[in-house]
């Protein structure tokens, strides 16, 4: 019988305490401190007094402005515009702004200026990474799970092989893939050259702004897919075989069985896998730090990478904290929306 002192949830409280203490010490308190830091000008290495600066860090991070430029038409009808940086740097109000993008309409140019274009770029890069990696990684994982579940010989060995990148350190995997992606000596380009019979140009995977992020996507999906494969495998094995037998008797083709039995049977698993993959994608840091350091020309700078760059490497911890707090708000909003979406779908069913 339960002793009296353990009733009324006290036991639950007792057992929960170690975990809660850990969460409070390492998550809640640091986060509260981070929020407090964003309102100051705290530096990591400075003897000066810390001052409260209000929302200055947020203004510097999020400030946007649109500037209109009138073109100068030359005699042959060609329209030129003054260099944006020359205009912004000579104007006291525009001095802190840098160009983020521009749109030309006839002889007028509209320039989007940001106080921190690298942060905006990082936000965009992170979203781009998530949009590319989530379908690829989940699709790859589902494919591997189906393959491993097909009852072929040696499937246990394959399961281990496909899972092995997950248990490898991400730093090691990233270093190896940086070699593979090397333009002149990497295996990827050598294989492509061999396949194309020596035709075509060598791709500078990590050195070209257009291919750097896709290269990281491919590598990340390869590294992470093993974990999602295991979850899918559990989901697949939970689908009753009677359903497949019934479908077979009704004369369903393998494709029809996949679309009408496997996919509906996996819908909850898919929702779960998509959510955890998305969350992991938004935390992209290690691959970037090891393989590209945010380059070339900020094409792979992500928000987490940028926060570390500014907060720790530039020693501006207040600003780095501001990056993470703003990012937290964005991610939390997204998570709530995603949850509402899945809840509504479940309710509709």
């Amino acid at each position: 019988m339960t002793p009296r002192w353990a009733r009324k949830g006290r036991l639950a409280f007792l057992f929960g305490t170690p975990a809660m203490l850990g969460l409070i010490t390492f998550l809640v308190i640091p986060f509260a401190m981070a929020i407090a830091l964003t309102l100051t000008n705290q530096k990591l290495l400075s003897p000066q007094h810390v001052q409260a600066v209000g929302l200055a860090n947020y203004e510097r991070l999020l400030g946007l402005k649109v500037m209109r430029q009138d073109g100068i038409a030359s005699s042959d009808g060609h329209v030129t515009f003054p260099r944006i940086r020359d205009v912004t740097r000579s104007s006291p109000t525009l001095r802190p702004y840098r160009p983020l993008g521009a749109m030309t309409w006839e002889s007028t140019r509209f320039v989007l200026l940001a106080r921190d274009p690298v942060f905006m770029r990082s936000l965009l890069n992170t979203a781009l990474f998530a949009v590319m990696v989530v379908p690829l990684q989940c699709g790859l994982a589902l494919g591997l799970a189906l393959l491993v579940n097909a009852g072929l010989c040696g499937q246990r060995a394959f399961r281990t092989i496909y899972f092995s990148p997950v248990v490898m350190s991400m730093v090691v995997v990233a270093v190896i893939w940086a070699f593979l992606f090397n333009r002149d000596l990497g295996l990827v380009n050598q294989a492509l050259g061999w396949l194309s019979g020596g035709q075509g140009t060598r791709i500078d995977w990590l050195g070209n702004p257009a291919t750097a992020m896709p290269a990281i996507v491919i590598m990340s999906a390869w590294q992470g897919a093993g974990l999602q494969m295991l979850i899918f495998l559990a989901g697949l094995q939970a689908i009753p075989t009677e359903l497949y037998d019934a479908a077979r008797i009704d004369g369903a083709t393998p494709l029809q069985r996949f679309v009408h039995v496997t996919l509906p049977g996996l819908s909850n698993t898919i929702a779960f896998v998509v959510v955890i993959t998305t969350i992991a994608a938004f935390g992209l840091f290690t691959q970037v730090d090891v393989m590209t350091q945010g380059g070339p020309a900020n094409a792979t700078s992500t928000v987490m990478f940028y926060a570390i760059e500014r907060g720790v490497r530039d020693q501006d911890i207040a600003y780095g904290s501001t990056v993470t707090v703003v990012y937290f708000v964005l991610i939390a909003t997204l998570a709530i929306l995603q949850q509402r979406f899945f809840a509504r779908r479940a309710g509709a069913r």
């Binding site: 400075s46 940086r85 740097r89 380059g295 020309a297 900020n298 530039d314």
Partner: protein
């Protein structure tokens, strides 16, 4: 249950008790921190410390090695927690920042200035008229190549008195590329993702072009200097190296010259032992080109400093005096191939004495070394320069990249109130 609780509290107390044995507070232990280096240098350091400890029985030396990549962060964290060791190594351009933050104390208040008189300027960390750090050695960057390589294209072998001009250097690269033996002829070392390396290696080239990182007279603004006309000329030249495929932006390892992937490598004297083993007499060690305003190479390597919180300054001072003694400097130079900080020590080594085969490094260090900006803003300058140079390499408009650097540096100076000293110590 209660027993478990008591046990865990006990463990907790025990672990906090062991924490109170913090560096810099004990009386009988001299704590020493050093960054991780190559095996030869690490072994030489170990022996140097062992020789120091051998004659002393009233205290022990506790030396710890910390990975170089996270060394600045470790120092910063230790400083914020007030747990810096008594003696520590610092990268020389970081000295002003440590002084500004109040982490290290002037060595010339502990040791007579006369003791430093024979030390070459690049091996001394000086700021605001005081000596804060001292090194046993300096390093020098050079162009490494093979005699047979240059003979192939009939190129002139440059000397310290007559280095290659920019036109000659470009011509050498063009001819080497034209031989078809190398996909790219030059390894500049751009694979290293470390801002301080980029500043050490490439800002002297900017200086040789007539530019600089910051206005050195005031150290208050970079605008008009790092983005001035000479800097734009440097940027155009630097970008062309990669656009012409004269250099690879990312070599897969640091063995490019050794494996014959490139014809010329721009790297430091610490690579000389390996290359000499591989090429013997065929190895050539050449000064970097003169881009119009004299040859320039970075001066100042890792040095030793004493923390402000050190409670055994006398013992720390003895340690510093020991490591700058002539036999110790000579021992380090012999063991690790680093350029000795004094002429007397150089004369005691096979390699660096007059006529020695590595004397060229000693002479280059004395003739061409230029200090990096002596300001607490160095980290900001170095990061800004690193990003600008990388962006230029990767094809960003050089003017935009250099303007970004100027803005970032000036912003940092404004954010830190001009890096003015604190009105009063916060502690």
């Amino acid at each position: 249950m209660r027993r478990i609780l008591r046990l865990s509290i006990g463990t907790l107390l025990a672990s906090t008790a062991s924490c109170t044995d913090k560096p810099g507070a004990g009386g009988r232990v001299l704590h020493v921190w050093q960054h991780q280096t190559g095996p030869e240098e690490a072994a030489a350091n170990q022996q140097m410390i062992a020789r120091f400890a051998a004659g002393r029985h009233n205290f022990v030396v506790n030396a710890q090695t910390i990975p170089q990549g996270s060394y600045p962060q470790s120092i910063m964290a230790a400083a914020m927690a007030g747990r810096l060791p008594c003696v520590l190594t610092v990268d020389s351009p970081m000295v002003p920042a440590f002084v500004w933050a109040g982490h290290i104390r002037p060595l010339d208040t502990l040791i007579d200035r006369q003791a430093f008189a024979s030390i070459a300027p690049p091996a001394l960390g000086q700021y605001q008229g005081h000596i804060y750090s001292v090194g046993q050695f300096d390093a020098a960057l050079a162009i490494f190549t093979r005699r047979s390589t240059l003979a192939q294209i009939h190129a002139r072998i440059p000397t310290l008195a007559q280095p290659w001009t920019r036109a000659e250097f470009d011509d050498v690269l063009r001819k080497l590329k034209a031989t078809g033996r190398w996909q790219v002829p030059l390894d500049l070392g751009t694979r290293e993702p470390n801002p301080n390396w980029w500043t050490y290696a490439y800002s002297p080239m900017l200086q040789s072009f007539g530019g600089d990182l910051i206005d050195r007279k005031t150290n208050r603004t970079a605008d008009g200097v790092i983005n001035g006309a000479p800097a734009r000329a440097w940027a155009a030249w630097f970008h062309a190296l990669f656009a012409n495929e004269w250099a690879r932006r990312l070599e897969p390892d640091d063995q490019s010259l050794m494996r014959g992937r490139v014809a010329l490598a721009y790297t430091g004297n610490w690579r000389a032992p390996d290359l000499e083993k591989a090429f013997g007499n065929d190895l050539l060690i050449l000064p970097p080109p003169d881009f119009g305003h004299g040859v320039a190479i970075g001066g100042g390597s890792w040095q030793w400093a004493v923390s402000s919180t050190c409670t055994q300054p006398a013992q720390a001072a003895a340690f510093i005096r020991h490591l700058i003694s002539t036999p110790e400097i000579a021992a380090m130079a012999t063991a690790a191939g680093m350029i000795p900080a004094t002429e007397a020590a150089a004369q005691r080594t096979q390699r660096f004495r007059k006529g020695g085969d590595w004397r060229v490094f000693y002479d280059m260090s004395r003739a061409f070394a230029r200090p990096r900006p002596a300001t607490p803003a160095f980290t900001a300058i170095s990061n800004a320069w690193y990003h600008a140079a990388r962006d230029i390499m990767d094809g960003t408009d050089p003017r935009d990249a250099l303007d970004d650097a100027a803005d970032a540096i000036d912003q940092s100076i404004a954010d830190n109130n001009g890096y003015a000293p604190a009105a009063e110590k916060t502690k």
